[in-house]
Symmetry: C2
Subunit: 339 residues, 2 copies
DNA sequence: AAATATAACGAAAACGGTTTCGTGTTAATA
DNA sequence: TATTAACACGAAACCGTTTTCGTTATATTT
């Protein structure tokens, strides 16, 4: 086991000072050609690489970014991470991933762990518990300390920071209009509770489309799941009783599960009943029939978030100006609707 | 913006030395009750938290673990990360995630980035390119430097380190036997190229089961995808020509896609043709019919890997003894086979 | 020859902690 | 009263860098 070599080691071996070694490796003009050659050759031979931690301490820059998300076993978040990771890596940053598991406390603990020097900034999506409690003090504290934060997808307006979202309202609006255009009359919505910022926006878009049409809104055509989990019985009862001819679901799982239920009843998709979901994951692609979805472009979202964060981290100026980027969703047409 | 407070700040304000503050905060016996109270109260008031980087530099311990995986948009890897993250977090460690994207070069670069002090150890799964090239020098260099490595799932025997795998051979063996027990005669295998350690093991288990039965092996019943990507046409042709009555697939996607193909032909699952896949992801659960799979217990694998790594990191002893943990797969029975 | 410029390098501080060792003061002991 | 022990604290080294500011030769200028 050969331990890592340090500047001090090189200095000792070559009988020069540590400062000389440091400068020589940086090709400083101060150092003679001879010495530089000697030092650089030695460093290469022993595969010298500066210690990241020491550099971090010196520069007060870690080149790490902290990503705090509710869950990782969700296609959408996964794609966002991938976008973040790719972009960040290209700019020399590493990504530390922390999971809040939809828990407020874990979110707080994770942020505190990372906020003490481990990272240069945060990219995060709020846990449902945090959104439910509307307690954002942990975020405010961090921003007050001058640590940049980018919020994506599940955001709040109570914190001053950069934000990236997709236009969920528009996505739902377009999806609902698609149904309307295709002559659907009984358009249902299966969603989660409103405290989730995204569900709220999607519900709004759904309502808007219906209000603008001559169909009007039937409140009983909206099914709200109390938790993030799927209540299979609730969906079954709902579909049986309301007999919609089109269903908009706020995620893939609700949609795919619902499709199976109605197929078991002998209904034809999309003739008898059409479906549109949110999130363009594997499920939508490989479902039978394949599911039309409002694609959220998670990877793009990750890239944009990472760019915003790193730009802020690296900007000298202490601008207190924040922006919110709104990405356009796109409807990915598949076989669960007519086309 | 209130900047973080340091020991030095506290020392200045309270007119004591930095050492005294440090000791007081650690409740050292050396320091008087009075001083400790004073310091601790002040620290709490100003929300003092020690700087992680400084501590890392001093201790030569970062409390970070590096996870290098081929891809994150794969259910299996995602669950592994979750297992790692949960376990590591509980022991006070953070997880830095790097994606090799199945590229040898990226794997090398990522490891080099992290190996210079950023992490205490690696947990990784090899990229397909690395397995194809059989070049493991980057791993050997790291282990020679005394940085612990745990390899999971996609491993190699050429590197001395701890390893965690599931018994892929056993999983395939059991799945194939399940088909045999149910009277299936023409059992096909859809897999990827053999350089992937897991595909190889699964193929072996498949062969073993068939050899032990009186069915024997028909090489033409094995379809090997050249890349990781799915060649839809190849599958279609294969299924049409060989007309198997049971298909074992090395992942979910191959299986779900195949199921759709045969359903379009009017075949009944599982009566006419049965399916078993690998990886217990969303796809299997929500496919129609739901897919029987060999569950790989990714989360468990992550936990075990993290435990092995952290135990090694924290053990003083420089034991050069490595173990390979083999996790048992389980067959999750769903509607794609008779039951 | 004296003054000055330049080249090449080293000492030391700094980043923010931890820890060892020393030291001055007071109290207990001989 | 002199010696010792206990107590409470500070100085300084250390982790591995970077960087400023000397400092010493040597070379150039007047």
């Amino acid at each position: 086991m050969k331990a890592k070599i340090t500047l001090k080691d090189i200095a000792r071996e070559l009988e020069v000072s540590i400062s000389t070694v440091s400068k020589a490796l940086k090709n400083s003009e101060e150092i003679s050609r001879d010495t530089k050659d000697k030092v650089q050759a030695f460093a290469k031979l022993y595969n010298y690489k500066p210690n990241n931690i020491a550099i971090s301490l010196k520069n007060k820059r870690t080149k790490n970014i902290g990503v705090v998300i509710p869950d990782i076993v969700h296609h959408f978040f996964t794609t966002v991470i991938r976008g973040i990771e790719k972009y960040a890596n290209a700019r020399g940053y590493n990504v530390i991933v922390c999971l809040s598991e939809e828990s407020f406390d874990k979110e707080v603990i994770n942020m505190e762990m990372l906020a003490n020097g481990s990272i240069d900034g945060f990219i995060m999506s709020l846990s449902s518990e945090t959104q439910e409690k509307s307690d954002y003090n942990h975020l405010k504290e961090v921003t007050e300390q001058g640590i940049p934060v980018v919020l994506f997808d599940r955001i709040t307006n109570e914190v001053d920071c950069d934000k990236v979202i997709i236009d969920d309202e528009l996505g739902a609006y377009q999806a609902t209009n698609k149904f309307i255009d295709q002559g659907k009359k009984k358009i249902a919505l299966i969603t989660t509770d409103d405290y989730l910022s995204v569900s709220k926006a999607r519900t709004k878009g759904y309502r808007k489309a219906l209000e603008e049409s001559n169909l009007g809104i039937d409140e009983s055509m909206i099914l709200k799941m109390p938790s993030m989990e799927m209540d299979e019985l609730a969906i079954k009862t709902f579909l049986n009783e309301k007999e919609p001819d089109a269903v908009l679901c706020v995620n893939e799982i609700f949609a795919v599960y619902s499709m199976r239920l109605v197929q078991e009843k002998g209904l034809k998709i999309p003739e008898d009943i059409a479906f549109i979901g949110f999130t363009d994951g594997v499920l939508s692609k490989y479902a039978n029939p394949s599911l039309t979805v409002v694609a959220q472009h998670g990877e793009k979202m990750g890239e944009v978030s990472a760019k915003m964060l790193i730009d802020k981290v690296e900007s000298e100026a202490e601008e207190e100006t924040y922006q919110t980027k709104i990405l356009e969703p796109t409807l990915v047409i598949r076989d669960s609707i007519a086309h």
